[in-house]
């Protein structure tokens, strides 16, 4: 049976009701009880059989022993009859008559043992040797009693036993003494017969005889009258083989005397041995003074004969029946379930179809109601079946007022009276008036006013009869709209054409469709000349590709508008500059249909700006060259100067003794001029480097800086330099350069040996003022400008050493940072150098 995913095993199981379970349970109970009863009966039968077999076995052995006992007892009686005068020959005759070998299989012989006192041994042996010269008692011992086996038949197979004194061995002697003292038959404990070459277990069966043929009553009499024992030796295996045929036996067994194993069939060597027997029991049997323990267990034959499979067959067939029954129920319920499910699916489909139809109807209705145009459905009789919200609004009715009415009420005369006739004509002759076409007609409102409409009618079928659907478009507002659009267009056109800025429109092929007068005239055309021509006609050749790319980008909608400066080609071939602003015009579905552009003439301005930037570039280059020149010149000038200085030094060194005093003075002058020139060149180098390296802004403490400068400059004692403990944000190295020069100047140009230089700082958020104020000679107003020029000194260089570049350098540094340097001084009243650095003081 195959269960689909929808009909799983458990799903079906859960559908079982109590009757199914009742049938299954009672059937199972019946099976189990049938199995139980039959298996009980079978067990009882086997029990009976086993105990019968076990008892039978024991009885068989007991009977065999009894049989031998009887024979031995008869022999004892016979010896009494012969008045105890027995010879070997008589015994041979007697025993031969017994035919023990054939009659009593299992016995090894039958013999006589005499009890001889020690002093009687010699005559006894002597008398025996008369008949049998080989007779002698063995083995030797020191007991005062002797128990020699005197006769034994058949003698040939028992030769080793003749003359054997049984007193040599405890089991034999103990049983013999017991027989003498009790007068009853006795069995020895397990022994090995001397005549058994295989040395297997065996035993002797004793029957005592006395001088009288009766057994004396007291123990004393018994001992006194005791003569000897008639005995039979048994090899256990031979006995059992004789007693029982080991074929088709239902049981196997073992016999133990105490702990000694007498006989054992319970091994895998035995035929039919069952290692897992159905039954196994032990029995203890008292047998002539010995307790023999029998262990009996059922054989394989027993198992095969009596094991009964009937109960199991009943059980299994019952269970199979139950499984079939269960499966039958499953199939039954499975099919039942399938039928129910199918019915449910069909039902669901039906419900869904109905819902679909309803929702489709609702969707259609709401779609009709959201239409802007009116919609009316009528029957072939002209009765209104459906009407949408737009139609109700147009005609000022409510739905209840219209549905069920004749369509006539919605149209003015003459159609109102004739409409039924139109319908009839169409249905009978197929004469179409409005169907399938758009007609300009008039509608009649509830308030009897008439308004223009477009009407379009289509026909359909419903339940076998024709229906007609009319779509009504209100034309009332259309005329007003058209007028407004025309006005707007006129204004726009006037604006465009009157504008001084250039204006154009082009289509997606890049051809002009509109171009205003201003643009056309600027380019040397008339507007009519350009319309229809491609835009590339007004562009220089090298701009065609870029222009095409722009056009394609705009048409494909990647770019909506562009703004750029470009050159245009006039009719006469001259190029002019214009600013282009172009944007796309899209239709309702977002497709680009036009490009509108405005072009402003910037030719003049552009030319000016281009010229200006070219000049700026030139200026920058020449400045750069100048800087480079100053740097290289000063650098290269230094090398020969160094050489001159060195050579002068060497001449002086080498010829100090020979040059005249005047020449020595000249050497000094030479050296001082060389060092002045070196200083000039150094300063020139410094000057040319100003602004080449940019320095980072950091916090600089003015007091600290001044102190450092004063130390390094080696300011003469007598000059005091003061500065406020204020920090400013500034490029440290240039600031230090400026301050060093200014302080140096103040000291250098001071007329006295003592003086005071004060430095002040005045910060604001946008920058700071640095003033260096001295109390020196001052600079006259008219020399202020000159002081700041390069190579200008206000006093002869021989009086005050200096390159004349210090102030110029300071000015260049300060102005490099956008700042300013000014001299504020009145003659004789000291000088103040005011520098301003516009560096914001909130940066760090």
């Amino acid at each position: 049976m195959i269960f689909t995913a929808n009909y799983s095993f458990y799903a079906i199981l859960s559908r079982f009701n109590w009757t199914h379970w009742l049938v299954l349970c009672s059937s199972t109970l019946l099976t189990l009880s049938g199995w139980y009863v039959t298996s009980q009966q079978s067990q009882q039968k086997m029990d009976l059989q086993y105990s019968f077999q076990a008892n039978h076995l024991i009885e068989l052995i007991e009977e065999r022993i009894r049989h031998y006992e009887d024979t031995l007892k008869n022999s004892a009686a016979t010896i009494n009859l012969l008045n105890n005068e027995l010879t070997a020959a008589t015994w041979k005759t007697y025993a031969g008559a017994l035919r023990t070998e054939s009659k009593y299989p299992g016995v090894n012989g039958i013999g006589v043992i005499y009890n001889i006192a020690a002093d009687q041994v010699a005559p006894f042996v002597e008398s025996q040797q008369k008949d049998r010269p080989y007779f002698k008692i063995h083995p030797a011992h020191n007991n005062n009693e002797f128990w020699p086996i005197t006769y034994i038949e058949p003698e040939k197979s028992n030769l080793k036993a003749i003359g054997l004194d049984i007193a040599h061995e405890a089991n034999r002697l103990t049983a013999a003494l017991r027989a003498r003292d009790s007068g009853t038959t006795q069995i020895t404990g397990p022994i090995v017969l001397v005549q058994d070459s295989k040395k297997t277990p065996g035993f002797l069966l004793y029957v005592p005889f006395y001088s009288s043929d009766r057994v004396p009553e007291t123990l004393e009499q018994k001992q006194k009258e005791f003569i000897g024992i008639v005995y039979a030796p048994f090899i256990m295996k031979n006995l059992m083989d004789g007693a029982l045929a080991n074929e088709n036996r239902l049981v196997n067994f073992s016999i133990k005397d105490g702990d000694d194993l007498l006989y054992n069939e319970l091994s895998t060597a035995s035929v039919d041995f069952d290692p897992m027997p159905l039954f196994s029991e032990t029995y203890q049997i008292d047998l002539h003074g010995r307790i023999w323990t029998f262990k009996i267990q059922s054989s394989q034959i027993f198992k095969s004969l009596f094991s009964n499979y009937q109960p199991l067959i009943i059980l299994f067939s019952g269970l199979i029946l139950n499984i079939l029954l269960f499966a039958f129920f499953m199939v039954l319920i499975f099919n039942h379930r399938k039928v129910i499910d199918y019915a449910e699916i069909v039902t669901q489909d039906l419900v869904k179809n109905k819902q679909d139809l309803e929702s489709a109807y609702n969707r259609m209705s709401s779609a009709f109601d959201t239409m802007l145009d009116g919609l009316v459905v009528i029957s072939d009789k002209g009765t209104i079946l459906e009407v949408n919200n737009a139609a109700l609004k147009l005609f000022l009715y409510t739905r209840e007022e219209l549905v069920g009415q004749n369509i006539r009420c919605m149209m003015p005369e003459p159609h109102q009276s004739a409409h039924d006739g139109y319908l009839h004509d169409y249905l009978t002759h197929g004469e179409k008036r409005v169907i399938g076409k758009r007609r300009l007609l008039q509608g009649l409102r509830k308030d009897r006013t008439v308004f223009p409409i477009y009407l379009q009618v289509s026909e359909g079928n419903e339940a076998g009869s024709k229906i007609f659907t009319g779509v009504i478009h209100d034309l009332t507002d259309k005329e007003k709209d058209e007028q407004k659009i025309a006005e707007k267009e006129a204004i726009l056109s006037a604006a465009v054409h009157a504008s001084l800025a250039g204006f154009l429109m082009m289509n997606t092929q890049g051809h002009f469709t509109e171009i205003n007068k201003a643009l056309a005239e600027w380019l040397g055309y008339s507007p009519e000349e350009l319309i229809g021509r491609p835009v590339t006609d007004i562009l220089p050749e090298d701009a065609h590709i870029a222009s095409n790319d722009n056009l394609i980008n705009m048409i494909q909608g990647h770019v909506n508008s562009i703004h750029l400066e470009k050159q245009y080609k006039r009719k006469d071939g001259a190029l002019v500059w214009g600013v282009l602003s172009a944007s796309t015009v899209k239709d309702k579905i977002g497709k680009v249909c036009y490009i509108v552009a405005q072009i402003i003439n910037i030719d003049e301005a552009k030319r000016l700006s281009l010229r200006l930037s070219a000049q700026n570039l030139e200026l920058e280059r020449s400045n750069e060259e100048l800087d480079q020149f100053a740097y290289v010149a000063s650098h290269d000038l230094k090398a020969p100067l160094n050489a001159i200085s060195k050579l002068a030094g060497w001449i002086e060194e080498d010829c100090l003794e020979v040059i005249p005093e005047a020449s020595k003075e000249h050497f000094d002058l030479l050296k001082s001029r060389v060092s002045r020139m070196a200083k000039l060149l150094d300063d020139l180098l410094l000057f040319s480097r100003v602004g080449r390296v940019s320095h980072e802004y950091e916090r600089v403490n003015i007091q600290q800086l001044t102190k450092n400068i004063a130390t390094l400059q080696d300011i003469p004692t007598g000059f005091i330099c003061t500065a406020p403990d204020i920090s400013v944000i500034a490029p440290k190295i240039p600031l230090e350069q400026v301050l060093r020069n200014l302080i140096g100047n103040a000291v250098k140009h001071h007329p006295d040996k003592t003086g005071h230089i004060n430095i002040s700082i005045d910060t604001n958020p946008d920058g700071f003022y640095l003033r260096v104020i001295d109390d020196g000679a001052g600079i006259p107003q008219h020399l202020h400008a000159k002081a700041c020029e390069m190579f200008q000194t206000l006093r002869p260089r021989d009086e005050v050493e200096g390159s004349g570049m210090g102030l110029a350098l300071c000015k260049k540094i300060i102005e490099g940072y956008g700042g300013s340097l000014q001299i504020e001084s009145e003659e004789t009243k000291g000088t103040t150098i005011v520098t301003y650095l516009p560096i914001p003081q909130h940066l760090i």
Binding site: H635, K638, A639, L641, N642, A643, S645, K646, L647, G649, W650, V674, S675, A678
Partner: protein
Amino acid sequence: MHKQPSEVTLFLIEDDDVDAMSISRAFNKLRIGNPIVRAKDGLEALEMLQQGDIKKPFIILLDLQMPRMNGLEFIEAVRKEPDFEDSIIFVLTTSRSEDEMMQAYHQQIAGYFLKESSGEGILDVVAVLNGYWKIAYLPT
């Protein structure tokens, strides 16, 4: 292993006669007997090296601004010569340009000295060189 100071040659590459002379004078003044061999520019120096005119061990004292092949070009060329790429080179120049100094040090020069305009500066440089070859082990 240890080389006697007198064996080390100073290979002076200097276009300016006066500067070269000032080195010789400094040697005399400090009583240094090591031989001085001079080349007038980088190209000449390179040729002298290739022809084996300069015996090892030697150290090079190099000017930067020279005609034909300047100092930096010379260092670059020497570092490509398998026999002389390990040469010890000191630079002695008037150029204070940091850019040139960095370029020179990138080519593994041993030191960068500035020519003083006057005075005894050159004596210090020569004393340093003398001390250097007295205690340093040079490539042979």
